[in-house]
């Protein structure tokens, strides 16, 4: 265990009483509670943390926040491995295990760093210009090599063992960022009673107050921070959410946020998710996300040890780590000097200060006081060193070049407002010439921007903005706002800045985008080749496209392009940002919905009974339906299905049909309504009878079919297919509410109320007789085909009985209230036992409907017309109905449209498959000879061969003709004979039995 050589003896917001052991690349280290992985690595003197994307250059830690482009690691291991994790935002925990990435075999010795040697050729867009010859080499050789080299970390790939949640929140005011501006805003609004949510991505609230030594009201700012947090926590309508990143702004005041519930723990405790994604509905929001510091482009600016000055300050003041023995400061403004002052305050050595601005006596005096050499008007030309910064080459105001040795170079070039969320709704930031940065331009309705995020960089401005905007937001949402109290900032603030976008004249690569290895030369090349619009620049060079989304690079890239093309920065373009603000785990946004919980499953009231019977279930849209009921000794599903079919045709079987959509349609105009939505007639249907109905979409193609029964003069019960139940309901509501609101129609789905079972087979009536109460006449005369009437069962339980048949057998459907579904199945099994009653599933159901030539989902595929399906004659010519006119269009009535017939193999031993296409015998298997396709097939135990339904040009006129059923994707090519689609009992004798 190392001794944390760079840890200061005292100070910092860390808990030195809680040491945390962790490992990086297999070496063990120790840090403290309150550390980030980055601060703990720096405390231990670890400088080299990663390798860059393209050139595999050694990289260290640049920042102390979410903008980090360099220090990306693989965190955790095994199934919990998280690639590309920014060490600067990882909260240290005991046992943390991290590894460097994008290097082989090791971080210190990375073979792909030879890319650096050929790097002169690997300029922006080089791959567009080469790898074209010979053509076959691209995919065989070049691309695999590129792919292997590209990418950063390694994803686990295997199932994520943690779980995730979603949550929804509502508030008057969402405050994004818990720094001084955000805290002041939350306090102002919270005190007035508004419902406030305050989110901060950090695990500790305070923002820059944690990193800077400031005074508020004559006392250390940390005291104000503590008091403010305590008050906020006491307010019942204020919710403070640390470790929560607001990542995106969506329409109408909806914000996406992700809460890292357990990422600071080795693994989530029982009953807690790893992360939770929030959809926050905010009437108002204040963006107080602060600002991100800007690096300077100069040769070697990526050496480990080159660090943002504000980050150095954060490590010193917040984490008690001084990440260098000998510091050089390169600054373009006053802010950098604060870093020098803070280093000196903890006893660190500031060897030199290079201030790009011209000489100034006050600065000279301050440098003297700090014991630092001052190079006013100077610049850092280059940084040297490999895995660790060794020194810098500087140019003074006179142009003289000299060398300084140092192990830490703090760079200060001003800050960019963290305005990302303001551009998520297509808002464009505006250039502020005075501040030399982009500030929020068009800001979405309901959002205000406070403090540094608005380009108001001083602490006084942050506190003032927060208090004012917090009060205003409270007033806007109608809460009696209390006037915000003025909180004086009592230490002096200066904000002078004259930014330096790049320093030319150094040796070696000068990086604009660290993570994607985009250099200033790449930007120049883009300019030379005409990729001058900012989007071309980004896309051609990949500037800003890495995991940091260009947080530290976009502006410098724009500035260099501006310089190259003789334009100003705003003329060159703006920096806009797409959501998310920082990358978001896919699992968090999926929440609970994965595996079996991906989508809800619907179970019939008879499900448990079917399970008890040994059913195999199949996904049928949202439902799980019994597919077949295997019995011991049955070798395959076909054996089982054959048995079930035979049992039905020989005796009786039962099959759950509860899943069909059932819509109660009442009202004086119910019959008229059905006339308009179905192609066939309904007004003449007597009460107590059912009828098959077919409905079209308005474009003339078939939408759905089903049996609808008239329960009363103005009361119908419509059934829909299982798959289309929801769609049909919506369609009917459209027809009623939008097209014909004048009709008295009252509709509601009753699908869930009824358990419904088909009882089919010659013994169906006898079976039913044992279940339906005796006073109901079930004789053929008393309850004829298509009768549909209420009955009672089980001694007075209200039920509905329909004499309808999908199987072609004597058959009924019996519906009982769902609570009795289970009992119904048991009662039927008992009543049918003497006849060998057999439960059957959707497979046997399918076999029997194919044997009878009934159309189902495979035929009702949205591409077929009523005529195609042989149902054209159902279309009434006497009334208007949905789809009537469009069904009459030229192309829908052409004679050679494929239409519905049956098919049987000429060699009865051959198997048919749905999806095969029909080709004339002796014709070439080409598209021009395609005559149609097989829609459904099944093995008929009745016929002892396979049979098929399908659509073929010429249809019924070709019965008796032979064609090929061509199925090359399954190596099938079977000669079939076109036949009637009704394979069993074409006269319908069994139906009426």
């Amino acid at each position: 265990m190392s001794t944390q050589p760079f840890r200061l003896a005292a100070g910092g917001l860390i808990d030195r009483g809680r040491a945390l052991d962790f490992s990086f690349d297999g070496t063990s280290y120790r840090g403290y509670a309150g550390d980030t992985l980055a601060s703990a690595l720096l405390a231990n003197g670890v400088r080299l943390v990663g390798r860059s994307f393209k050139y595999h250059r050694p990289r260290g830690i640049l920042s102390a926040g979410p903008e980090e482009p360099n220090a990306l690691v693989e965190l955790r291991s095994g199934a919990r491995r998280e690639p590309n994790t920014r060490a600067t935002v990882v909260e240290l925990f005991a046992g943390l295990d991290a590894a460097s990435q994008n290097r082989w075999p090791s971080l210190a010795f990375d073979l792909l760093s030879i890319n650096g040697l050929v790097s002169p050729a690997l300029v922006a867009g080089f791959y567009y210009k080469t790898f074209m010859w010979p053509a076959s080499f691209w995919e065989k050789l070049y691309e695999p090599l590129i792919r292997r080299a590209a990418g950063l970390g390694r994803a686990a790939g295997t199932e994520d063992p943690d779980h995730y949640e979603k949550a929804f929140a509502f508030c008057d005011l969402l405050v994004i960022g818990g720094g001084p501006a955000g805290l002041a805003a939350a306090l102002a609004a919270g005190r007035s009673g508004a419902r406030v949510i305050l989110c901060d991505e950090d695990f500790r609230l305070g923002g820059r107050l944690l990193a800077d030594k400031r005074e508020i009201g004559g006392k250390p700012a940390t005291e104000w921070l503590a008091a403010t947090l305590a008050e906020l926590e006491s307010l019942p309508e204020v919710r403070i959410m640390p470790r929560t990143t607001v990542f995106g702004l969506y329409d109408h005041g909806i914000y996406g946020a992700v809460e890292r519930v357990a990422d600071h723990l080795p693994q989530p405790p029982a009953h807690l998710p790893r992360q939770r994604s929030w959809r926050i509905h905010a009437r108002r929001a204040i963006l107080a996300a602060g600002a991100l510091e800007r690096p300077i482009v100069f040769a070697g600016n990526d050496r480990p040890g080159v660090m943002l000055a504000g980050a150095v300050r954060a490590y010193v003041n917040r984490h008690g780590v001084l990440p260098g023995r000998e510091t050089v400061l390169f600054t373009a403004g006053d802010d950098g000097w604060t870093t020098a002052r803070d280093i000196a305050a903890v006893g660190g050595k500031v060897a030199a200060i290079i201030d790009s601005r011209s000489a100034d006596p006050a600065r000279k005096a301050l440098a003297d006081k700090l014991g630092a050499r001052l190079f006013a008007g100077g610049a850092v030309l280059g940084a040297r060193g490999g895995r660790q910064l060794g020194g810098v080459t500087i140019r003074d105001a006179s142009g003289a070049v000299s060398e300084l040795s140092c192990d830490l170079l703090a760079v200060s070039n001003g800050w960019n407002p963290t305005l990302h969320l303001t551009s998520h709704q297509n808002g464009k930031p505006a250039w502020d010439e005075d501040l030399q940065c982009f500030v929020p331009g068009t800001v979405p309705a309901g959002l205000a921007v406070a403090g540094s995020a608005a380009g108001r960089f001083t602490l006084a401005q942050a506190l003032e903005d927060g208090a004012r905007l917090g009060s205003e937001a409270a007033a806007e949402v109608g809460v009696a706002a209390k006037p915000a109290e003025a909180v004086p900032v009592t230490d002096p603030e200066t904000n002078g800045l004259s930014p330096v976008w790049r320093v030319t004249g150094g040796k070696g690569k000068a990086f604009v985008d660290y993570q994607n290895d985009v250099t200033d030369k790449d930007v120049e090349l883009a300019a030379r080749e005409g990729f001058r619009p900012v989007e071309h620049l980004k896309r051609y060079t990949t500037l800003g496209m890495a995991t940091d989304q260009g947080k530290t690079s976009n502006l410098a890239g724009l500035a260099i392009m501006a310089e190259q093309t003789g334009r100003t920065i705003p003329q060159t373009g703006t920096t806009t940002f797409r959501p998310p603000y920082t990358p978001v785990a896919i699992g968090a946004l999926a929440g609970h919905h994965r595996g079996k919980d991906f989508r809800p499953v619907r179970l019939a009231p008879t499900h448990d009974w079917s399970k008890e019977q040994g059913a195999v279930f199949v996904e049928a849209g949202q439902w799980l339906r019994a597919q077949y009921y295997p019995r011991p000794g049955e070798s395959d599903w076909l054996t089982t299905v054959n048995r079930e079919v035979k049992a039905v045709r020989a005796g009786v079987g039962i099959c759950d049909v509860s899943t069909l959509g059932k819509i109660d349609i009442q009202g004086a105009d119910a019959a008229e309504f059905l006339e308009r939505v179905y192609i066939n007639g309904w007004k003449a249907l007597p009460v107590g009878k059912a009828r098959y109905g077919l409905m079209l979409r308005e474009d003339g193609f078939v939408m759905d079919d089903g049996t609808t029964s008239r329960l009363g003069d103005s009361h119908f019960l419509m059934t829909t297919t299982t798959a289309n139940a929801g769609k049909v309901m919506q369609h009917l509501e459209f027809c009623h509410q939008v097209l014909w609101p004048e009709l008295d129609i009252r509709m509601v789905s009753v699908s869930e109320q009824w358990a419904q079972v088909a009882i089919a087979g010659p013994k169906a009536r006898e079976t039913l007789r044992g279940v339906v109460d005796p006073e109901h006449d079930l004789s053929n005369e008393g309850f004829p085909y298509l009768a549909a009437r209420p009955v009672t069962v089980g001694g007075g339980i209200p039920a509905r009985l329909f004499r309808i048949s999908f199987s072609g057998e004597l058959a009924y459907e019996l519906a009982v209230p769902a609570d009795y579904g289970d009992a119904m199945m048991r009662a039927l099994m008992q009543a049918g036992a003497p006849f060998g009653i057999t439960p059957y599933g959707t497979e046997a159901l399918g076999v029997m409907r194919i044997e009878k030539g009934h159309v189902a989902g495979n035929e009702l595929n949205g591409q077929t017309t009523a005529r195609d399906l042989g149902l054209g004659r159902m279309m009434s010519a006497k009334k208007d109905f949905v789809g009537r006119l469009m069904a009459g269009r030229q192309a829908l009535v052409e004679q050679d449209r494929p239409s519905f017939v049956g098919f049987k193999p000429v060699d009865p031993g051959q198997r048919l498959r749905a999806g095969a296409h029909f080709i004339g015998i002796g014709k070439a298997a080409v598209m021009e000879n395609d005559e149609g396709y097989m829609t459904s097939v099944a093995y008929s135990p009745h016929l002892s061969h396979w049979m098929g339904l399908g659509l073929i040009k010429g249809g019924a006129a070709r019965i008796g003709e032979r064609v090929r059923a061509y199925d090359p994707v399954r190596n099938g090519d079977v000669v079939v004979e076109i036949c009637s689609p009704v394979f069993v009992d074409p006269e319908g004798a069994r139906l009426h039995g």
């Binding site: 509905h281 619907r602 009231p605 109660d664 869930e752 358990a755 339980i797 209200p798 769902a818 289970d822």
Partner: protein, 206 residues
Amino acid sequence: MAETARSWAARGAWAGIAQAGQLGATGPAGVTATLLDGFGLATLIAAPGGAAALSQAIVARLGIALPAMPKIASSASHDVIWSGPDQWLLRATTREGFGSLLEALSAQAAVSDQSDARAALRLSGPRVRDVLAKGVMLDLHPAAFAVGDTGLTSIAHIGVHLWRLADGPDGSVFEIMVARSMVGSFWSWFAASAAEFGCRVSTGRG
């Protein structure tokens, strides 16, 4: 609907899905869930222009008026719950006499029995809103969703109908109704969401 003794055993929507006991975290339960069963439920839809007459009929029979807004109105034995324009759910705590009530009302409304169509759950406890926030896309803050408010919405891709009843001994009380066929998936969401706070599950009559 059942009014006389039957030879068939009824099996409620929760059967095989959930049972009494403790879910998730141990210790004092943050949420209390009661699985409701045995209630009568029906959809009533008024004829065009007939809502007032229907409401009068309900007042006459049950002493409660049909809410014109998304609200629930309750008597000791019945609730009427807004479920769409000119549409309500009528709930009775017991199915005794429910069939004849529906028959009587069918002159004023399109009546569809839904007694077996829904599973219902009553929720209370100090963390009840935190659990619901994991699925409900409505603002359930006491000021935004008052006692007697109801909403049709969805949870975890499952359509639900929920409302807030008068506060009980452990604070706010909500009831949720969900389609019977989806109650298994609903319970999977609920159990996962309530586990953080611990949930005591019991059974009761609606």
